[in-house]
C-alpha cells in the first residue's frame, strides 16, 4: 500500500484524537534536570529516600515527575483514561523500583521518562497485538495503517530549547525522531511512513538524537 493510501486509513486501534485532549494545563515549572547543583541532585536525594520506603519523599518525587510522565504517556497513548492508568502504573513502578535507580545511568527524570515512554509504547503495541493476534508479525508490521502524518510531526512543544534544537535537525531526522518518540512507532513503521529505507531511518534516528543531545548539552 502506498503512503498516501495508508495515510487515509484511519488508525482504528487508537482512540480518536478529541479536541479536548489536552485539557490538562501545561506544566510550566522549571524543568527538573540536572543543574550543576540544583534540581538533579535534589531528586537523587529524594530517590534515595524513596528507596528506603519514605512516603513523604515519594510524594515530593511525584510532584516533580508526574507532569513529565503523564505528558509523554498521553502523547503516545492518546486516550486519556488509558493514559491515566498507564501513568499511574509508571509512578507506582518508580516506588517499587526505587532501589534499582543508578545515578550513573542517567538523571531521575530521564529514568522516569524512559519507564513512562516504554510503558506507553507497550500499551499501544499490545493493544495492536491483541487486535491482530492472528496475523503474522512481519505482515502486521507492514500492514499497520498510518494517518495524521502531517500532524504527527507538528508536535506542540512547551520547551523553547527543544523547539529550537528540533529546528536544527534535517527534515528526515526530525520526522524519524518525532514519529518514533511522540507517536510510538517502530523504526520499521517510521520507514514505511516516510517511504525511506530501513538503514536510513536507523541512522537518522541516531544522528538526529546525537544532534539534539549536543544542542541541548546533555551529558548523561
Amino acid at each position: 500500500m502506498d503512503a498516501d493510501a495508508s495515510r487515509r486509513t484511519a488508525r482504528h486501534h487508537r482512540a480518536p484524537r478529541g479536541v479536548g485532549r489536552r485539557e490538562g494545563a501545561p506544566v510550566r515549572q522549571p524543568l527538573p534536570f540536572a543543574a550543576p547543583d540544583g534540581g538533579g541532585s535534589r531528586l537523587e536525594d529524594l530517590m534515595a529516600q524513596v528507596a528506603r520506603g519514605d512516603k513523604d519523599a515519594f510524594s515530593a518525587l511525584y510532584d516533580a515527575l508526574a507532569g513529565t510522565v503523564f505528558g509523554i504517556v498521553v502523547k503516545v497513548v492518546r486516550d486519556r483514561a488509558q493514559s491515566e492508568e498507564v501513568a499511574q502504573e509508571v509512578m507506582i513502578d518508580l516506588w517499587r523500583q526505587a532501589s534499582r535507580y543508578r545515578p550513573e545511568q542517567g538523571s531521575v527524570p530521564a529514568w522516569a521518562a524512559t519507564l513512562a515512554h516504554r510503558r506507553a509504547v507497550d500499551r499501544v503495541r499490545s493493544a495492536q497485538a491483541s487486535a491482530n493476534r492472528e496475523y503474522d508479525q512481519a505482515a502486521r508490521e507492514h500492514q499497520r495503517p498510518f494517518d495524521e502524518v502531517a500532524e504527527q510531526v507538528e508536535t506542540r512543544l512547551e520547551s523553547e530549547q527543544v523547539r529550537r534544537c528540533m529546528r536544527g535537525l534535517t527534515e528526515l531526522q526530525r520526522q524519524a525522531v518525532t514519529l518514533a518518540y511522540y507517536q510510538g512507532l517502530t523504526y520499521r513503521e517510521v520507514a514505511e511512513t516516510l517511504r525511506a529505507p530501513l538503514p536510513t531511518i536507523k541512522t537518522r534516528m541516531r544522528d538526529g538524537l546525537i544532534r539534539l543531545r549536543d544542542c541541548m548539552g546533555v551529558t548523561t
Partner: protein, 249 residues
C-alpha cells in the same frame, strides 16, 4: 548476520523504543557487552527525557491520590546485589548463589511479582504470603531441588544464557536457574511462564542470574518459558520467548 557496527547504529532506535522484538533481543544482548553503546544510550535517555518534558501535562489531581494509595500495597524491590562474581556453570550457580542471603533476595524479588493489574487482585493474597515469609519459600525451593522425583532440563536462551529448569511433579513446583542473563535493560525485566500446552501462565519475575522458584503450581504445564517484559511483568507475554524448555512428561 549483523555485524557490530550495524548493531551500534541501533542505539538511536533503542533509545526511542522503536526496535521490534527481534532487534530488541539482539541489541539488548549487544548492549551488555558494549560500554560505548551504554554510554550513548544513557545520553540519549537524557535527550529523550527533554522531549518528554517538552510535552509535560499536569495529570488530574485524583491521580496522585490513587498513586499514593496504591503504593501502600506494593512491596519495594530490594537493591540489586553486586554482580561481582559471575558463575559459569549451573552447578556453580547453585553452589554460590544459593547462599541464604542471595537466595532470600532473589526470592523476595520473585515474590514481588506481578503487573499492576495482577497486583490489584492480589492484595489479600500478598498479605498472607508476607506473613508466611521468605523462609517458607526457601524451604519450597530446596525441597524441589532435593525432591526424589526432581527432573532437570537444560537449554540456552536466544541471547546465549545457560538455563535449567528443575521440576518436581510430586512437589508440584519448578525452579528456574539462569546463568549469563544480560541485564534486562532499563524498565525491563525477565518474566517466567508456565506453558500450559500453548497458553502462557505468569510464573514470576527474574532480575538476574540465580535460582528462582516459579510462582504458582506446576500442574500439567508442558514447558517453561522466559521473556523480556516491561518492569513489573505482564499478564501475557508481550515479546517472543527468549527460551522455551519442554518439561519431562
Amino acid at each position: 548476520m549483523r555485524n557490530e557496527e550495524d548493531l551500534h547504529t541501533l542505539t538511536g532506535a533503542y533509545a526511542l523504543h522503536a526496535l521490534g522484538r527481534e532487534e530488541l533481543t539482539a541489541f539488548t544482548a549487544h548492549l551488555a557487552q558494549c560500554a560505548s553503546c551504554r554510554q550513548e544510550v544513557a545520553e540519549f535517555g537524557g535527550t529523550t527525557a527533554r522531549l518528554a518534558a517538552a510535552v509535560s501535562t499536569a495529570p488530574p489531581p485524583r491521580m496522585k491520590d490513587a498513586v499514593l494509595h496504591g503504593i501502600d500495597s506494593v512491596r519495594q524491590l530490594p537493591p540489586r546485589l553486586p554482580a561481582d562474581e559471575r558463575p559459569r556453570t549451573v552447578s556453580g550457580v547453585l553452589r554460590r548463589k544459593a547462599g541464604p542471603l542471595a537466595l532470600a533476595a532473589s526470592l523476595v524479588a520473585a515474590a514481588s511479582f506481578g503487573g499492576l493489574a495482577v497486583w490489584q487482585h492480589q492484595q489479600t493474597e500478598e498479605a498472607q504470603q508476607r506473613a508466611q515469609g521468605t523462609e517458607l519459600r526457601m524451604r519450597d525451593l530446596t525441597s524441589v531441588l532435593a525432591a526424589p522425583d526432581a527432573r532437570t532440563v537444560h537449554g540456552r536462551t536466544s541471547t546465549g544464557a545457560v538455563t535449567s529448569v528443575v521440576s518436581s511433579q510430586r512437589q508440584d513446583k519448578a525452579v528456574f536457574v539462569g546463568t549469563g542473563l544480560p541485564e534486562p535493560g532499563p524498565g525491563r525485566t525477565y518474566q517466567l511462564w508456565y506453558d500450559d500446552h500453548g497458553t502462557m501462565r505468569p510464573a514470576g519475575l527474574v532480575d538476574s542470574d540465580g535460582a528462582t522458584l516459579l510462582q504458582g503450581d506446576l500442574r500439567k504445564a508442558s514447558g517453561v518459558g522466559l521473556t523480556l517484559e516491561p518492569a513489573g511483568g505482564s499478564p501475557q507475554p508481550t515479546t517472543a520467548p527468549l527460551m522455551l524448555l519442554a518439561l519431562p512428561a
